[in-house]
Structures are given as C-alpha cells and as structure tokens.
Symmetry: C2
Subunit: 413 residues, 2 copies
C-alpha cells in the first residue's frame, strides 16, 4: 500500500469535516498547521514538499507564527487550501498519509504546543445573548425592565483589550484591583473575590474594510474567516465599582482566553440554524434575507485541584439574538474599519434554562445559589487552582466539527 | 564657513529644544525623521552617512514606516539619539547643517507628508479632567452629584478603537448611526446631528510590560516615550442612545485624529507643574512622591469653508486631575500588559472657565449656548466643511516645544 491510514477517534473535535487552522511550536520551529484526529499536519512542510504546488501560494506562506498573512490571501484561496488538504489527507477510513511524503508532515498533537495563531488588531465584545442581558438586568437593575431600551434595537458592544488575549492553556493570575464592598465605607484594594468566566465565541475578521465604508449584513460573511471559543474572564467586584459611566475596563482586560484553532465558516456552514425571531422591528441596515446562527453545542467545565471535572453549563451558540452579520454591519455602519485578525466576541452565551447560563454570576445567581461540583465542593465564583474549560462542537461522530478546548487555570496573585 | 545656518521662526513649534520624532513620506520613500524649524531632518540619511556611527544603532533602524522599532531600543538609546541630533544640528542661531553632508538630510517641511508614525496595538481613553467629568455630569445626570462616586478614587477609563486612528490632515466622514431623538417614538438612522471634537492629549507607551506584572506610579515614566495631541471625535446623539450599560462604541470609533509628531518626555520634562491636589484620599497604588503634569497650552480652532479660523477654546494639560503615571499604574494594576506603541489618551481636557472647555458639548452647553465664530457664524456642533484644529505647546520663543497641528476636516456622508 502506498499510504498509511490513521483512524480518527469518534469523539475527536477534528473529524475530516473540520480542517481548522492554527499555529504550533515544536523544537524551536513555529509554523501554521491544521489537524485531523490526533495529528497535526504541518502546512509548511506540505508546501515545501510541493503538495500545494498547483495552488500557486506565496512562498513560505505557512512559515509564520501568525495566520494573518494566510488569511489575507482571501477566502477563495484559503478555501482552496482547505479543499486541497481534504483531497490530500482525507480517506473514508480516516487520515491518509502517503508513504513517500516527509515524516515531518505529521506530528502527534500531544507532543506539540499550540500558540496564539493571530495578530489581533482590535478586539470587540458584544452583548448579544438576550438571556444573558436579561439575567444581568434582573440582578443589577430592575426585574420588571431587565432589558435596557436600546437592547432590542441594536447589538450593544464595546471595545476590549487585545494585548491580554492569550491562548488556551495559559495560566491566569487572579487580578488585583479596587472595589467598594458593601460592608466598607471606602474603596479597598486586593485580589478580586468574584472571579468569573464568560462563555463566549468570537469570530475572526478575514478581510480589511476601508475607513468610512460600512460592511452590509449581506456582505458580512465575506469578512468573517472563522470562529474560536472565547473566555472573557471577568472580575465582578471590580466591574461593579468601575463601570459607570464608560463601561467595563480593568474587570475584563487582565486576560481573555481563546481556543487555539480557527474553525472556518466553510466548516460551520453545514450547521446553520435560523436565528431567533426579532421581537421588535429593526432598522434596515440590520436586516438580512437569511439571518442564521450555527448550531454549536457549548459546555463549561470546572476542573478542581483533585482532577475532578464538573460540567456546569450546557449552552449553544444558536441562542444568540444578534448574529455575527448584524454585529459586523452595526460595528461598521458608522464607517469604522476592520482589519484581518480583528476579533469580535459574542458576549456571554446563555440559554433559557438555569443550566445553560454562561457565567458563574448567572449560574450561582450573584452568589445566592452556590453550585455543587461533582466532588461535592461548592462554588459561587472561581477559586484559585480551578481550571475553567470551554468546549464547543457541531455535529457528531465522524462529522463532528469541534474547536478544541479553551482552558485556563487560575493561579493566586 | 563649513556649515550653513537656517534661522528658526520664533513662532515655530519646533525650536531646538523640541526634537520630536515622526515619519514622513516623500517621492515614494518613507523614513523616520525629526524637525527643527521649517525643516525635516531625515534620520535614515543621517545614519547612512555615518552621523550616528558612535551610537551603534541597528542598521536601517530609521528606514521604517513606523517608529515602534526605534522606540523599542529603549529610552537610554532614544535619548542618546535625541542628544546626538542636538549636538549635530543645533546652533545658537538656529539649525546648523554641514556643507559636506548629503543634501537629502534636510527637506522643507512644506514639501513632505507626515504619516501615522506608530503601530498602535491598543488604544485606551481616560476621563481624567475633573472639570469635564463634572460638566458632563451636570448636563446629563444630577447637578448636585455631578461626579460619579468612583471618579475621585480611580482614573476612569475605557478601551477605544485603534484601527480608526488617523494622522492630522485626514478628512473625517460624518458618521451615520442609530439615534433615538426626543421627538421620535422609534430609533432612526442617519448622519449624526451632533458631531463633536474632544480636546485630548495621548501618551505613547515606550516599553513592554508583562501580563500579570503591574507598572507602579514610580516606574510609569520609564514606560512613556512621549506625547501627541489627540482629537477623540464624538457623535453625541449616537452616544446617548448606545452607551448604556457598556460605554461609548460607535459614537467614538469612526475616527480619532493624532498630531504627527511624538514629543518626547525628555523635551517635556522642562515644563513640569504640580498636579492639582487630591480631594479625597487615594489607595496607595495610585500615590506617587512627585505627582506632576506638564504645562502644555492647548487651543482649539474651527476653520470654516471661507478660511476663517476662530479660536474657540483655551485650555491646558496641567488641569488634569489624574496624571499619566496614575493612569498607567491603574491600567496595569490588575496585570493588564502594555506594549510599545499603545496609546493612552487623557480624556477631554477642560478647565474651570467657560472658554477652556474641551468639547462643543460643553462650550455650547448641550446646544443651548451657540458659539459665535469670527465670521459671525454660529455653532452648537461641528458642521460639514469645518476643520477642527488642535494646537499644543510649552514655553515660548526660541524655547517653544510644540506638537504641530492636529487637524481634520469634516466631509459630508
């Protein structure tokens, strides 16, 4: 036989229908890659050996610690690369590798380190889950008027910090900051006592737009390369004291964690589901003919020091009220430009049921309903030593398209 | 005589005490430069000719469309370069140029175009003028409790958009957006009717910090390379509708304008003035032994289509309640990292008197007190065709250290 077949675990996020893009580090070399099953495919080695010759890519496009240059080739080209990878490596029984290819084409995924795969120019966070916005409104404002007046008319968003976005696996130091506890007459300083995660997804901008030139809802998909899991770590006590009138700042910018793989829209397009119906009429710049989300199952697990992993949240990206297309159209309607590698996060993704809430704030309802973990421990917020793991996937079995875990362990200040 | 002397206009922002850094474009070449009087000094030509040989700089460090690489050499080195420029080019009678140097060392400043001189990783906007925060509080909230409870305890700030920061001279398209006018029962879409400027200054981060490692108030000056003028264009009607609860977004991110020159802390250090006294005790991480501002005179002019320039604001950077050192220490106290080229803006700089307010919102008091320009025209906000010009300078005469204008013309949508 001229080639070898490597079977793919049926639970793998990386079926032959996925073919995500990332960047890995191994023995000092850093190159762009994809993954099938338990194996990293080194795209630089592939190109050097000539496997992509008929695509006429720029030389050494994958010899790069970032995917931005690759993404900037444009979707017609990046989709061709993805299709070529499928043509070369996919067999109905698994991952197929020709015997005469260099052994360096494949790496065991367990032996390499994935790094932050994009230069993020600007990072924006939206607030597009109606259930999350409603829960926060009930807890902090008025249960009778939980949603603020603008919420159903526009995708509320704000700018976040790009410098402190780290890749899955990076430890997160508990932030210190200024708070004003209810039992104090003056502000105090110290480590946050209300460290939270936020279950989010982010899309990666795949095309530059010009300053002054809005991107319409119809054009939006051409400007989106793919998606990642996103944990918008939050310090609720810092947030509460600082956020009026200009929004969250130090409560958020100490760190955000992204999963290492960018799953392309090409892969996600098979999992379209209609967006929830609009509850109020919207302005025409936010309308689009087919408004859809993706059916992405989302879980959050807390792993404690003793190794116990407890699943504390079952949510889904399909709950998003405002879709990516609407977010991008809104973001640019005033002429704001976007750049390749910009990250736009969804905001916390909560569903209707209590076990689908995407933050400790909601799950433990502001500390009033502690969660019980599988080892009997209680949690209202995240403790030192806890690892928070986000998981996300579409489909199942040999058609599963997953994101790989997005995890971070909290270390004491 | 072996050299030529070029006298310096006594009104010039670029006395021999300034020596700012910028990047200019001319005939297709783009290089780093400084300026004395009416002349650009091409630092790449200087280096190639050997004028900086004894500084042992990296080759072609000035052959660059950005100053980030130069700034990353560190302050000891960049200060030496500045001192060397003074040694080479400064004579008591003006700009001195040796006859045997290449003619390309000098360019007439009128014949070149200055470009955006830094890659801005993250841009943060503070809200550190007590007078401005008070004015806004009186107008939009409660005159009796104009300052929010947190304001005297921490430098309130939020993240802004880096992609849409443009250099002085770039036209600004009036943004469109969603507003909810008082005479409407539903939100409407269209060009902003309340386009405003904000008179601000920004500092440029000159040293990377690590994630998880705060920069103290005492260390802060080592992390600041220099300053620029900053116009944080704002659409007040869009802002009013969108900003709760997560802060300003599309009302700000359509454009911000910076002056083309970075004036170094080396130059500004001669103009230190004590910061205003603290009105409440502050937490120790915000304290510093010598808390100071710089005495930077600030003017705002509106130039109308007929060429009339009307000075509508006389302010000063010394009014800032929270200083740069406190802003940077606060920004990083939670472990947030900063990177070379990050921009941190002051927030609107208003003084106590009505002619010192740093925005149209305040100058025309929410539209209720129209300003009369020198040609008799009235303004409550900025009209299409208006050019807003910020000017800033320290000292006077042959010791004047100025920033060069920061200007932008509004063009209709």
């Amino acid at each position: 036989m001229e080639y070898q077949i490597y079977p793919i675990d049926v639970e793998s996020d990386f079926s032959t229908y996925n073919i995500p893009f990332g960047v890995y580090k191994d023995d000092g070399s850093i190159t762009c890659c994809t993954r099938i099953g338990g194996y990293i495919i080194d795209l630089h080695v592939c190109q050097e050996f000539g496997l992509f010759n008929d695509l006429h890519l720029p030389k050494q496009i994958f010899f790069n610690r970032l995917l931005n240059d690759f993404i900037s080739l444009g979707k017609p080209t990046t989709s061709k690369v993805r299709n070529k990878i499928i043509e070369l490596f996919v067999d109905e029984d698994g991952l197929k590798v020709h015997n005469d290819w260099p052994v360096e084409v494949l790496r065991n995924a367990e032996n390499v380190t994935m790094i932050l795969p994009i230069h993020i120019g600007d990072y924006t966070d939206f607030y597009s889950s109606k259930e999350h916005a409603t829960n926060v409104g009930i807890m902090f404002r008025d249960p009778e008027n939980a949603l603020l007046p603008n919420w159903l008319h526009l995708p509320v968003g704000y700018h976040g910090r790009a410098s402190s976005i780290v890749v899955s696996g990076t430890d997160i130091k508990r932030p210190q900051g200024q708070t004003f506890p209810g039992d104090s007459s003056i502000p105090v300083f110290g480590p946050t006592k209300q460290l939270d995660f936020e279950l989010e997804m982010a899309f990666v901008v795949g095309k530059n737009s010009e300053l002054g030139a809005p991107v319409s809802t119809q054009e939006a998909k051409d400007y989106i390369f793919g998606m990642m899991l996103f944990n918008d770590w939050s310090a609720r006590d810092i947030q509460k004291w600082e956020y009026v009138p200009l929004g969250p700042f130090l409560a958020k910018n100490f760190a955000s964690t992204i999963s290492p793989w960018i799953v392309t829209l090409d892969a996600l397009d098979n999992f379209k589901v209609p967006a929830p119906p609009r509850e109020k009429p919207i302005l025409s710049y936010l309308e689009l003919e087919e408004n859809y989300n993706f059916d992405i199952h989302l879980n959050v697990l807390i792993k404690t020091d003793d190794g116990t992993e407890s699943c504390i949240c079952h949510s889904n990206y399909k709950y998003m009220y405002w879709t990516m297309h609407q977010q991008l159209a809104h973001h640019t309607v005033n002429g704001c430009n976007v750049r390749i590698g910009d990250l736009m996060a969804s905001g916390t993704i909560s569903g209707k049921t209590e076990n689908s809430y995407g933050s400790m704030l909601e799950l433990a309802w502001k500390g009033t309903k502690p969660l019980t973990l599988d080892n009997g421990q209680k949690r209202t917020f995240i403790q030192d030593g806890d690892t928070v793991i986000l998981k996300g996937w579409c489909g199942e079995g040999n058609r599963k398209v997953g994101f790989g875990p997005c995890e971070g362990k909290i270390i004491p200040y």
